[in-house]
Amino acid sequence: GESVGLHLPTLSVQEGDNSIINCAYSNSASDYFIWYKQESGKGPQFIIDIRSNMNKRQGQRVTVLLNKTVKHLSLQIAATQPGDSAVYFCAEDSTGANSKLTFGKGITLSVRP
């Protein structure tokens, strides 16, 4: 029989445009957040992280915004390039006794040439 797999939500952007990838996290005790990029057939690759005492952090072409009030995290990619095409995961962790990195649902970023 035919099998139906899960499909990740997809964000399609034009090359050169800015991309904004959003993530809602679940644990109000989380105090550390990471964005990972995963290309096909590879392991997740660290992009940028942020701690809960900050609401914005910038890297090279990437910015992470944290809104603890609504438990929302976003990744902004400036001047999106074809090499940015991948699945992006946000992950949350805490410094508590039950510390564990928990991944959110991934989002596929597709860059149109």
Partner: protein, 113 residues
Amino acid sequence: DAMVIQNPRYQVTQFGKPVTLSCSQTLNHNVMYWYQQKSSQAPKLLFHYYDKDFNNEADTPDNFQSRRPNTSFCFLDIRSPGLGDAAMYLCATSRVLASNEQFFGPGTRLTVL
């Protein structure tokens, strides 16, 4: 270059036939993790070692076991693989346990026939 290495990259096994996946690291990190990632899903933590201390996730099936003979190596043993165990298995390391960047290996894609 310091890195996380997984062997083999692709593993095919038969239903019920034990299989072992290998991970090694040159980062000298204290913590090593094993994640299972099924198609189009987020990585799911199976267990981790903090030095020699083994920590199993509550929902990890008994079919999955792990060994860490030394700082550099960690093995994932699947005693009786079922069709539902077909997935990408990711090894990761971190220097300490909480709120610390995890470095991922490239993963081993397991196929169960």
